[in-house]
Symmetry: none
Subunit: 501 residues, 2 copies
């Protein structure tokens, strides 16, 4: 008997159809929409979002959910049915917590803060942004109180992006990363001239970049018959279902490597969505389970694979063929060293694999203090500079290059930043487990191939979609809870060798 | 007092938002969607179409419509309000006829048939397409029976694309076109060598075609800040609102003129939608009033403008600059003669201005027979060949070049084909009226400009959207009901001169 469950599933799939249509409208807005299309598009997206919301929060769906739960109460914990119902119940109850009045007010606050942020960043005007950021912090605190929490207010915000993860656990792990990374960065700083990456700062023809990005995405296993690559200002990936998952990139003539690694990054995200079990496709759990796990897949292909020597030993020849003048006389080892140069810098999105986490830890610590009320928004720029000095040894001269650089806080997306570093840690832990469980993976990686690695990820991560929360998925796939150890081990080995430490 | 009317309008605009989202999903399917995206996309479109249908056919909307009609009963016949209510009432009463189950089933049939058609055309596999076409005919017959008709079943289908037009009337006008055209074609056939168009059958670099198509679209007034040009297999245009109206084209290296005229054709369609009054945007009457009137706008810019000597006297130099080798030593008169060569051929979309209508009349007659049940799908390829022989004196060797060449029947779009020739007839009638009413139009056309012509069309055709049915719009704009005369006059003058008849 699964009559109620099937009826519920049909309703949920229809809601997913509407949400995927919104995703297509979003993708088109970023890729091909003409400039004057924006007003109509905003209306269309808003109408569809409202329809999806109304469908999901209807009493009819609530009744069907209760009936399906009753019908499926014997279903095994890890069955699709039980997993689906757990997830839908959680989301249904949660959506009920936030009144339309609150949702509207939050959207007003973040709408105004977003516009103010863009303007103030340009003008280096933190004072102008301050009242908006205060409102943004306040609305996030209010959301946390409505959502509820046991230990710390920040838990409620983190749970939105990394369900089941506690602030205290993240703090413990991040402290370990910090303790191990800061001395490593300092040691590297004493060997500043050890890596020469000037060959990356040339003009790389955009047409060849385009071909090379396609090649790179294909080389790691992104399936172009179930997706495509488009050009945008800010790269992203988006799924309209497991058989249509698109990636985007941005081409800057002066820095080919940026489009290449952005493509590998988005390919990682996209392969996660392409690998979700067919049975889950179009259902509420037919998508990546958390921001951190999603980021682990992008980082794995961008860094663990894409910045490895093995990958480039196999593929550098192709790159050289596409940029014969720019890479003339460059050896694969020189190239490998260049793309792994460590250099403390001010801007998060341009940071290397090692210093990147320091940017995240800084934001994680600051936003906890903001949410707990230990730090006033007025004192934020000073706190930012202080932490930059401690963690990276560099200090921004302007707020535009400091506290105003990211959009996230204007969107009240507190709790999102830590998932970037969680992604790095998960990626190392998955990679270590995969290599240990299947020795063919190492052999292949040394030849620039990822077939077995992708098979392992499909089996242990991708296919489950959102059946399990991130902590449970991590335990199931690696046999361990998340720890800093695999990542610390990885960077010590890699950068120890690169910098002869 | 317009409280009920405004409330109705808000609901209708939300429905339009959903319909426009479907249009975006459709456009994306034809342009950028990867091959395996089709199943998910078919589902999404089907779900959204059902939602729009349900919103439109709800009792709530019916009550609001009745209240708004009562409130606006004094509104002038040609006011936006009265026109909107007339149109919505008609559609509301009609849509009530089609159940959500039928709408979903039809969309599934045509989704599958569309995919099958594309595959079978490639493989010249009519047998593979046959069951899909049978399903498509059956669903169209079912729709006609639901819709109802007085005289012939085909009336019900024609009315969908050309409201207010009767099959018998079309037959009369088409018979007149046939009577006048067939002898003209025969006379031209006796002067086969009179026009040399070999210069068109060279390799034209696709990149230059791309630039030239943009140039051509802009030259006739298509607004790129409210649209774009994408590449597809089967060119079309689509509107997501008057500020986002897209055109598409197809590039074949061996026949540059084909992409150029396809672009002018779609630009004509798109300018109609771009020219609709702002007050009607996003409402049910904010779109072209019929397929025939739509086609009149595309044919006007493709043929009456784009195949005129005046247009090329102004623009041939630019074309020559884009294809210097291919058009070396070719005079504008030679080029003008070449693009107007009359040559009975197999493929409708490649047919010249004169024989084109014979392709349409063939389809018009065959699809009437399919719908009436006088012709079986299995016998269609034979009937096709027979009629080709009678009307054009040429017979396709493969079904790919015969009955499989058009997508329309896979979409169950029976009743659509005649609107192509109706469009040719309307375009000649509009053109004659415009030139008579504003003498500046002729002066401009002789210089390859269309500013005043476009202004006349905006004022007399475009801005009205669907306020008036095609027959009424034609009377208002030209003072006459549709007749074959202006078109017959036009082709006799033009081809009489070209072939010295």
């Amino acid at each position: 008997m699964s009559e109620h469950y099937q009826a519920l599933l049909e309703k949920l799939k229809a809601i997913t159809d509407v949400e995927k249509a919104v995703a297509v409208l979003d993708w088109d807005r970023e890729t091909y929409m003409p400039e004057h299309g924006i007003a109509g598009r905003t209306r269309q997206i808003s109408t569809l979002s409202e329809i999806a919301h109304r469908m999901f929060t209807s009493n009819e769906l609530g009744d069907l959910l209760a009936a399906a739960e009753n019908e499926q109460r014997e279903a095994a914990y890890d069955s699709d049915e039980a997993s689906m119902l757990r997830s839908v119940r959680r989301e249904y109850d949660e959506q009920g917590l936030f009144t339309p009045e609150f949702v509207r007010r939050r959207s007003e606050v973040t709408g105004a803060a977003g516009a103010a942020w863009a303007a103030c960043r340009k003008k280096n005007d933190f004072a102008g942004f301050r009242p908006h950021l205060e409102a943004s912090v306040a609305i996030a605190q209010e959301a946390a109180d409505i959502y509820g929490y046991d230990d710390e207010k920040y838990d409620a915000l983190l749970d939105k992006y990394e369900r089941g993860m506690k602030t205290a656990a993240v703090r413990r792990i991040f402290d370990e990363v910090k303790a191990q990374t800061v001395p490593l960065i300092q040691a590297i700083n004493e060997r500043k001239g050890a890596i020469d990456d000037r060959m990356l700062a040339q003009d790389f023809p955009v047409e060849a970049q385009r071909t090379m990005c396609r090649y790179a995405a294909e080389s790691v296993g992104y399936d172009f018959s179930r997706g495509n690559l488009a050009e945008v200002h800010h790269p992203f990936s988006t799924s309209f279902g497991r058989n249509d998952v698109r990636i985007t990139t941005r081409f800057a003539p002066e820095y080919a490597v940026s489009s290449l690694f952005a493509t590998l990054h988005e390919s990682g995200h996209a392969m996660y969505e392409q690998g979700i079990a067919e049975a889950l496709d179009g259902t509420p759990i037919g998508k990546g389970t958390s921001s951190g796990i999603h980021e682990s897949q992008s980082r794995l292909f961008e860094n663990q694979v894409g910045r490895s020597l093995g990958y480039w030993q196999a593929h550098f020849e192709v790159l050289q063929r596409h940029f014969p003048e720019q890479l003339k006389g460059v050896s694969v080892e020189q190239f490998y060293r260049a793309i792994n140069k460590v250099q403390p810098s001010l801007i998060r999105v341009e940071a290397d694999e090692l210093t990147y986490n320091m940017h995240i830890i800084l934001r994680f610590e600051l936003e906890q203090a903001l949410i707990n009320g230990d730090l006033k928004v007025a004192d934020l720029p000073g706190a930012w500079r202080e932490k930059m000095q401690t963690l990276l040894g560099v200090v921004p001269e302007t707020d535009s290059k400091g506290v105003l650089q990211d959009i996230h806080w204007s969107m009240a997306a507190f709790g999102y930043f830590p998932t970037y570093t969680l992604g790095n840690l998960y990626s190392a832990q998955f990679m270590a487990a995969a290599r240990q469980q299947d020795p063919r993976i190492d052999t292949e990686l040394a030849q620039g191939k990822t077939t077995q690695l992708l098979a392992w990820l499909r089996e242990n991560v991708h296919r489950h979609g959102s059946k399990y929360d991130a902590p449970e998925l991590c335990r199931r796939a690696t046999g361990q809870t998340l720890s800093a150890e695999p990542f610390v081990h990885y960077v010590r080995e890699k950068f120890g060798a690169l910098y002869a430490l």
